[in-house]
């Protein structure tokens, strides 16, 4: 069993290395681009899963931290600072602001927390929209005549989608490993305990505010990471990329794919981002218009008929199905 598992992992890794190269050589640039996009969303979704899935705190303003990461990376790199220095700064900023927001906010009950995160997400977007001197308002960064510096690694210059795809996959792998290790650590178990019964967790000696804060900050840093990579890849950002609906889309990916489960989060991204983008050239733009309509319905159906999502996390399923007996 154990050997089987590691073989599967190696195969997946090899596929992830070979497939983009094969696609690139076949001239399938669109697929490479979509894969990069899926990778970015996977980082966001696996990051958000720490807050929403493990800890059970509904966060409706997650894109705010993606925006913080993206804007800080853009502003610094316009000044000519290389990516490998701006990245830690963006991560720190994302985490630190998340910590400042979380300290008072995490005391709130579930649905109030959701609304406060929503409000914070909108505040960040509105600030990005209105503070022209810093963010160039709705026109976005970089301003005319400025340029976001390329990412350089030794002599390698990250310019085309293929190299970026490898970079994104590298960071995604890091995100998944971190998240996996967290889930199976003492902190991860504490998070699940808080999700299932906060009072009982407190009575078992878990420092609830601190543990919640750790999860909250960590997931914010993943948001900032995705933002920082994205802005270097696309070379442009505007406040319109970080609307409330983007945050909601992330939550629906988790709900549909399976909350509290890394594989579920990734499946959710494939269903809600990957497949529609792949089908876009086939079915035309009309389908893309209808996808949100369909997602809305799927979301309601999933939460009613299979609240643990398509790929369920065993612990969450256990919790959801024992509650029915009450």
């Amino acid at each position: 069993m154990k050997i089987n598992r590691s073989i599967i992992w190696i195969i997946i890794l090899l596929l992830l290395i070979i497939l983009p190269l094969a696609g690139y050589n076949c001239g399938n640039y669109y697929a490479i681009h979509v894969a990069g996009l899926v990778g970015i969303y996977c980082i966001l979704c696996v990051g958000l899963n720490i807050t929403v899935g493990y800890t059970g705190l509904l966060d409706l303003g997650f894109m705010a931290f993606c925006a913080i990461g993206a804007y800080s990376a853009a502003l610094l790199s316009i000044k000519g600072i290389p990516f490998w220095i701006t990245l830690p700064i963006s991560l720190f900023l994302g985490g630190f602001i998340r910590y400042l927001v979380g300290a008072p906010v995490l005391r709130l009950r579930g649905d109030y927390l959701a609304i406060v995160t929503l409000a914070f997400g909108e505040i960040v977007r509105l600030i990005a929209n209105n503070f022209d001197w810093l963010t160039n308002g709705p026109k976005g960064l970089p301003r005319a005549g400025e340029r976001i510096a390329e990412i350089r690694l030794f002599s390698l210059v990250f310019k085309d989608d293929l190299l970026f795809l490898y970079l994104i996959l590298f960071f995604l792998l890091g995100t998944i490993i971190t998240s996996y290790r967290l889930e199976h650590s003492r902190i991860g178990r504490a998070l699940v305990a808080i999700r299932e019964d906060e009072l009982a967790a407190k009575l078992s000696g878990i420092d609830v505010p601190q543990i919640k804060s750790v999860a909250f900050v960590l997931s914010g840093m993943f948001g900032a990471l995705a933002g920082a990579i994205y802005v270097h890849w696309i070379g442009f950002i505007s406040p319109e990329m970080f609307t409330f609906w983007e945050s909601v889309l992330l939550v629906s990916m988790l709900v549909i794919g399976g909350m509290g489960n890394i594989a579920g989060a990734i499946l959710g991204v494939f269903l809600l981002v990957g497949i529609p983008e792949i089908l876009r050239p086939v079915l035309g733009t009309k389908f893309v218009d209808y996808r949100m309509l369909i997602f809305g319905m799927i979301m309601i159906a999933v939460i009613i008929f299979r609240p643990e999502g398509i790929l369920r996390s065993n612990r969450r399923a256990l919790e959801l199905h024992t509650k029915e007996k009450e």
Binding site: D111, A119, V251, S252, G296, P307, K323
Partner: protein, 298 residues
């Protein structure tokens, strides 16, 4: 300037207050944030829009009757939609964990917005100007008859709601269910009927708020519900969520604060101010101005 912004604020506040009542009534009875309420508001506005553009006014003396019919039908349409949403997507989740109905409501919200966007229009549409508007000069400021009309209608509806809740048997049943579901059931109250009624009334008030919003701003769009929705929710929280009187007052307070902020600070950042108020109230006084202290049930 001050009185002018005060008048604007009262108009805005009337719309928020009507809108907020739906949030607060549903929260009072089900302890859930009805996220889809902002879409009920939007659909209400569209029903009004559709009827205003389709139905002709035969003669000027029919004008009051004409608007009465339009208001009643939009209220009814929005209310019935709210009832349907509750039946299909919240009722199966009544025993689930607290976040489940909220997620379901977000799904409904996405669905309704995109439905309207795809079936009606993705562009903003001008609202028919069939209500004759006159300008008055009072206390040295210009007040339009529309502003007085919106304010008056909102107050009238609130008075009717107050009387309904405090004097009638159904109102009593609503208060009982809000207090305790099980005990209310033991007293022979049909909970499902009462919950449907709450959604009907709340949805209806939200729908008419949407129509008034369309008349006041002169244009509607499929995503018009989102920002006013957050603000109405802020108003409900400000007055103490679950508290009907609080929602009315919270709506007016928020409307006035927003209008004054738009006038004196910056009109660009007035939305930021509403969000900051929301966060501050939730952080420091989550029970609102009138809300009573509620210990969390375990």
């Amino acid at each position: 300037m001050f009185i002018e912004q005060l008048v604007n604020g009262l108009t805005l506040g009337s719309i928020y207050a009507l809108f907020a009542l739906g949030y607060t009534m549903v929260y009072g009875i089900l302890l859930m944030i009805n996220f889809a309420h902002s879409e009920i508001f939007m659909v209400g506005a569209y029903i009004g829009f559709w009827m205003l553009s389709c139905l002709p006014i035969f003669a000027p003396q029919f004008l009051p009757a004409y608007f009465l019919i339009i208001f009643i039908l939009s209220m009814l349409g929005a209310g019935l939609l709210a009832v349907m949403v509750e039946r299909l997507s919240y009722k199966p989740l009544r025993k689930a964990c607290r976040l489940a109905p909220l997620i379901s409501a977000i799904g409904v919200s996405i669905f309704l917005q995109n439905l309207v966007m795809l079936t009606v229009s993705a562009q903003s549409q001008p609202y028919p100007e069939k209500l004759p508007i006159r300008q008055f000069h009072l206390f040295g400021v210009q007040i339009s008859s529309l502003q007085i009309f919106i304010f008056g209608l909102a107050i009238l509806l609130m008075i009717i709601l107050r009387i309904f809740i405090s004097r009638t048997k159904l109102g009593k049943a609503m208060r009982a269910v809000a207090e305790n579901h099980t005990v209310a059931q033991l007293m022979g109250i049909n909970i499902n009927t009462v919950i449907s009624l709450v959604f009907l009334i709340g949805g209806g008030l939200g729908g008419i708020a949407g129509v008034l919003n369309g008349l006041y701003y002169g244009s509607i769009k499929y995503n018009m519900g989102f920002l006013p929705g957050i603000k109405a929710f802020t108003a409900a929280v400000l007055g103490g969520i679950g508290n009907i009187k609080g929602a009315m007052l919270g709506g007016f307070i928020l409307g006035i604060v927003e209008a004054l902020a738009a006038g004196y600070i910056s009109s660009e950042n007035k939305d930021v101010i509403a969000f900051v108020i929301l966060i501050l109230v939730l952080l420091f006084r989550p029970t609102g101005i009138f809300g009573e202290e509620v210990t969390e049930k375990i």
